[in-house]
């Protein structure tokens, strides 16, 4: 396995806040890495930093991003433009507004092709029709000339995916691709993405806050909290094996509703993580400490480093959990509903 994208110690600041703090992350060729976290945890900022697409107000304070062996930080704008859409592409959360409303969907796909490859209009059109078929849009030749407002949200997201994979990228960053869609469409879109990943042998960085999605589609998981990666492991290990090592991940897991566990809010209170993500803003220690059931004095003074707690399992915690349970005396709500 070789990493196609490696971010090292990436720190991104927006005016007034540091959105991403020392994130180190690597994506292997052909895998799906899920980047999980709640709103405001820095997932999207990380993704945009990887593509060097941060808004002008944001600053990359430190860190390196290597993609296929080249350092993206030192690249001129023109070189980055040649990469974007061709070697790395991205799909966004809002399919309703991510397509240009005044251009036909087929035309938009053909544009991408003509931007990165020297194709005639006819060739680009043919390829675009093929791509519409690839993302399973029925009757692609007729759909080519339709405008975005003629399509449903799921269909528009398919068009976005077609544009993103048009030039066979090595890495596809999917920033909450299904959050705006209803659940039945969500599963279809994720299945399509996973199929395309295999078919085109590309890697997928799947940004989500939905652990159900992670469990089903991801090979590896990185959990972000307040701009830092707090845990990184394989999906198999997190959901079937040893379970989470970081209390935040455990908190996320127990606060999901597990259908097969027969739990329901009428039978038992849903678990929640007390407090909000903003509680630790500016604090010197672990950002999760104010909300952590196992926090001790160390946690308040310096942030815990991301260290190996098991094979291929990293966690940033001074008191990592073993088997999803707190090692210390806190055992009050350990009724974990792990599948």
């Amino acid at each position: 396995m070789n990493a196609i994208m490696e971010a090292t110690n990436l720190t991104v600041a927006f005016p007034g806040t540091v959105a991403v703090q020392g994130v180190t992350l690597s994506i292997q060729a052909g895998e799906t890495l899920a980047l999980v976290g709640e709103s405001g945890s820095g997932k999207s900022a990380t993704a945009l930093a990887l593509m060097r697409l941060l808004p002008a107000s944001a600053r990359i304070l430190s860190g390196r991003v290597r993609f296929e062996g080249t350092d993206l930080m030192g690249q001129p704008a023109a070189a980055l433009r040649r990469l974007r859409g061709k070697r790395i592409s991205m799909i966004f959360q809002e399919p309703m507004t991510s397509l240009n409303p005044v251009m036909s969907i087929g035309g938009q796909i053909a544009e991408v092709l003509r931007q990165h490859e020297s194709l005639s209009r006819k060739q680009a059109r043919d390829r675009a029709v093929d791509l519409l078929a690839l993302v399973r849009i029925p009757d692609p030749a007729r759909r080519y000339d339709e405008f975005p407002h003629n399509l449903s949200g799921g269909m528009r997201q398919r068009v976005m995916i077609a544009m993103a994979v048009a030039c066979n990228p090595r890495l596809l960053i999917a920033d909450e691709p299904t959050t705006a869609l209803d659940v039945t469409i969500q599963a279809q879109i994720l299945e399509l993405l996973d199929g395309l990943r295999r078919q085109l042998s590309m890697a997928v960085l799947l940004i989500t806050h939905d652990l159900g999605v992670v469990a089903q589609w991801a090979d590896r998981v990185a959990v972000m909290y307040a701009g830092r990666i707090v845990e990184q492991t394989t999906a198999a290990r997190l959901f079937q094996g040893g379970g989470p090592a970081h209390p935040y991940t455990r908190g996320l897991l127990v606060s999901t509703i597990a259908l097969d566990a027969g739990k329901h809010y009428r039978h038992a209170r849903l678990h929640e993580i007390p407090g909000t993500i903003a509680d630790a803003a500016g604090a010197p220690g672990c950002a999760f400490a104010p909300r952590c059931p196992g926090a001790h004095s160390d946690c308040l003074h310096r942030p815990p480093p991301l260290e190996e707690v098991g094979p291929g399992h990293l966690a940033a915690c001074f008191a990592p959990l073993s088997n999803g349970r707190l090692s210390s005396s806190h055992g009050d709500d350990d009724a974990l509903a792990l599948g």
């Binding site: 974007r84 966004f92 005044v102 544009m163 599963a187 652990l211």
Partner: protein
């Protein structure tokens, strides 16, 4: 933990919603029909097309130079069937003057609007898209030009240079672009944050591409509406210049027809009334077209 989704058929047939409520954007094919359904726009368009036809076929209808003396002076309209709208104090055909004057007026209106649109769109797009120092400088430039009245600027430019159709158009265009620039800038400032612009960046499109292919087509509706009003005010400005004797002396224009008829206002009022009516009608038609386009293109005012 793992929520398994229902197994899916390989080609899901998601029902296409046919009547989506937010179908704001008129496709190119539906736009003409929407204009035809709008009585205001239709009326304006018909009057305007009549003037355009008159201007285009002026040379065919009245092949003679409209400045030539062709008949007895001061014939009233209807007095001589050869000169349907009469003749002026020099025996020139008023109808021929009106037709050729339409040519001058509409030409100046169109050229100056194109010049104004070009400068205004470019300045507004660049300022609004890039922001920062570039924007600050361009806004100052726009404000500088906005403080100079178009009419005054046109008089100065025409007085310095020679009064030809091209120079008059340029003068009016240079004086009227700030409106377009401010409008375009506002559009670009909001649209540059749009999701599809972010998506375009993620696809590797360059700035020029994003400005002209992604944002501009989406910003066009209010610009087009303003442009039609700009043509109307350019027609007025040109008439005023000609009335003041600062128009092209070799070309008949509605403005100088009024100027020539002014002295005979009490005896031969038709000499001022006819070209005056033509100006009013032309300006009215352009305003009607602008209003109609606004109704058709502006989703917020449509369909209540």
């Amino acid at each position: 933990m793992s929520v398994s989704p229902p197994t899916l058929s390989p080609a899901p047939s998601i029902a296409m919603s046919t009547g989506e409520p937010e179908a704001n954007h008129l496709s190119r094919r539906r736009l003409p029909r929407a204009i035809l359904r709008n009585p205001t726009a239709l009326a304006g368009l018909l009057i305007l097309l009549t003037f355009v036809a008159l201007a285009v076929f002026a040379g065919v209808l009245y092949p003679q130079d409209p400045l030539d003396m062709v008949g007895a002076p001061l014939l009233w309209p209807g007095q001589d069937p050869e000169f349907l709208l009469g003749t002026d104090s020099m025996g020139r055909d008023v109808a021929a003057g009106l037709a050729h004057g339409a040519r001058a007026s509409l030409l100046v209106g169109a050229i100056s609007a194109v010049i104004g649109l070009f400068i205004g769109t470019l300045v507004g797009a660049i300022g609004g898209y890039f922001g920062g120092v570039v924007d600050d400088l361009l806004v100052r430039l726009t404000e500088f030009f906005q403080t100079i009245p178009t009419m005054l600027l046109a008089i100065v430019i025409v007085a310095i240079a020679e009064p030809s159709i091209g120079m008059i158009s340029l003068a009016i265009g240079v004086g009227s672009w700030p409106t377009i620039a401010r409008l375009t800038r506002a559009q670009f400032r909001s649209l540059r944050e749009a999701d599809f612009v972010m998506a375009a960046r993620s696809l590797g499109y360059g700035d020029a591409r994003i400005i002209f292919r992604e944002i501009l087509p989406n910003a066009l509706a209010p610009i087009i509406v303003t442009a039609s009003v700009m043509v109307a005010s350019a027609v007025l400005t040109e008439s005023a210049l000609s009335f003041l004797g600062m128009g092209d002396p070799n070309v008949v224009s509605w403005g100088n027809m009024i100027a020539n008829g002014r002295e005979l206002l009490r005896t031969a009022w038709y000499l001022t009334a006819l070209p005056g009516g033509a100006i009013s009608l032309a300006v009215l038609s352009l305003n009607l077209v602008g209003d109609g386009l606004n109704d058709v293109l502006n989703p917020r005012q449509r369909g209540e």
